[in-house]
Symmetry: C2
Subunit: 195 residues, 2 copies
DNA sequence: GTTTACCTATCTACTAGTAGGTAGACGTTC
DNA sequence: GAACGTCTACCTACTAGTAGATAGGTAAAC
C-alpha cells in the first residue's frame, strides 16, 4: 500500500502532469484544485505564486532525476548499460503514457516567456543532464565500449537532442514506438565496435 | 520597397512570433491588437475564433514550407545540397533570431490540449516534412551520395528529431551555435563515403 | 498559544467572444 | 453622374467566464 502523498506533493503531481500536457500557460490553480478536491486558495497557502510552484516542481524533478541517474550508476557498472537504462526509462514512460514528456523539455520550449526563476532552473536541468551524459560517454570511451566521432560533450548534446526530438515526434505522430525507433539507432551507433 | 502586408497577414505574422515564443496559450487577441495597433474585435473580424486563427496560421506556414522545399529542389539538383540548404535555413533563422523555433514543433509539444482542427494540421506538417526528408534521402542514396544505415523513412525520422531537439537545446542553453553543433554531424554521418 | 492547513469570500486584471454601429469602397441602375 | 444597396474593415462597448492572488476566519495539531 502506497502511503498517501501530502497535499503539497499532490499539488506538484497534478501540476506536473498538466505542464507535461500543456506547458506553463496550459494549467491554472483552478485545474489543480478541482483535480485534488481542495480550493484554489489552499494551493496559494503551499505555493504563494505560480512561479514558486513551478520552481518547486522543477527542483523536485531535478532532484528525482539526480537520484535516478545515480541509482543507474549504482546498479550497472557499465556505461553502455547506464545509457541504455536511461533510454529505457523514457521508452517506458512514453509507452505507458505515465510521463509522456520531460517536464523540462516542455518548459524549455517556452523559455522566452518563463519567469526568470523558472527559466534558470530549467537551464540548470539541461546542464546537469548534459554533464551526466558526457561523463557516461567519456567513461564508456575509456573502456572502449563506445566509439565517439566527436568530443564527448558534443556527442552528449547530440544524444540529448535526439531524445527530446524523439519525444516530440512520438507526440506529434501519436506513435509511442517512434521514440525507440529514433533513439535506439543513435545509441547503437555509439556502441558500434571499433572498425 | 516591401509592400505593406494586409492586416490579416500582419495578424498572422504577430501571432506566429508570439506562438514561437510561448505556444498556443502564450498569446491573446489583446497582445496581437496592441502589436499592430488595432482593436481586439477587428481580429475577430478576420479570424472569428482563436482555433481558426491558429489553423490559418499553420496552413500558411505549411504552404510556405512546401514552397520553400520545392524551391530547394529547383535550385540544387543534388539531394545532399538540398539537405544542407534545409539545415542552413534553420541555422540562419536561429542565428539571427528571426524565427528561432519551428511553429509546428512548438505546437506539437502542446498537442494534448490543442483544438482538434489545429492538432490535425500540425500532424499534417510533420507527415509532410518526414515525407520530404525521406524522398531526399532516398534520392541521395540512389546517387550514392548518402549511406543509409536504416530504411530511409527511419533515417528521416532520426534527422527530423535531431533538428527539433537541436532547436530546443539552442533555446534551453541560450546558445544559437548549438543547433549547428548538433545537426551538422548528423548530416555529415549520412554523407560519409561508402566504406 | 502559536503554527499549520485548510476554508469562504472577494479582488483586479484579463480571457475569448459578441452586439451593433460607422465610414468608405464598389458596383448597379436609373 | 447621382442615388442606391451591399460589402469590407474597422470601431466602441459589452458579456460571461477565468486568471492569479489576497484577506480574514476556523479548527485541529504540536
Amino acid at each position: 500500500m502506497k502511503p498517501v502523498a501530502s497535499t503539497s506533493e499532490q499539488i506538484l503531481d497534478v501540476a506536473q502532469s498538466l505542464i507535461v500536457a500543456g506547458g506553463y500557460n496550459g494549467f491554472s490553480y483552478a485545474d489543480i484544485a478541482d483535480a485534488i478536491g481542495i480550493r484554489k486558495a489552499s494551493i496559494h497557502h503551499h505555493f504563494p505564486t505560480k512561479a514558486e510552484l513551478v520552481s518547486a516542481l522543477v527542483d523536485r524533478y531535478r532532484q528525482q532525476t539526480e537520484l535516478g541517474l545515480k541509482s543507474l550508476q549504482a546498479q550497472s557498472a557499465s556505461p553502455a548499460d547506464q545509457l541504455q537504462s536511461y533510454v529505457d526509462f523514457w521508452k517506458a514512460c512514453i509507452g505507458n503514457a505515465s510521463l509522456p514528456f520531460c517536464v523540462c523539455a516542455m518548459l524549455a520550449g517556452e523559455m522566452p516567456m518563463l519567469p526568470d526563476e523558472v527559466a534558470s532552473r530549467v537551464r540548470g536541468h539541461f546542464h546537469h543532464l548534459a554533464e551526466w551524459l558526457t561523463s557516461v560517454l567519456q567513461a564508456g570511451a575509456k573502456q572502449h565500449l563506445f566509439r565517439l566521432d566527436k568530443r564527448p560533450e558534443q556527442e552528449a548534446q547530440m544524444l540529448m537532442a535526439s531524445v527530446h526530438g524523439a519525444m516530440l515526434s512520438a507526440r506529434a505522430f501519436d506513435d509511442p514506438g517512434l521514440f525507440a525507433a529514433i533513439v535506439e539507432p543513435q545509441i547503437a551507433r555509439l556502441r558500434a565496435p571499433v572498425r
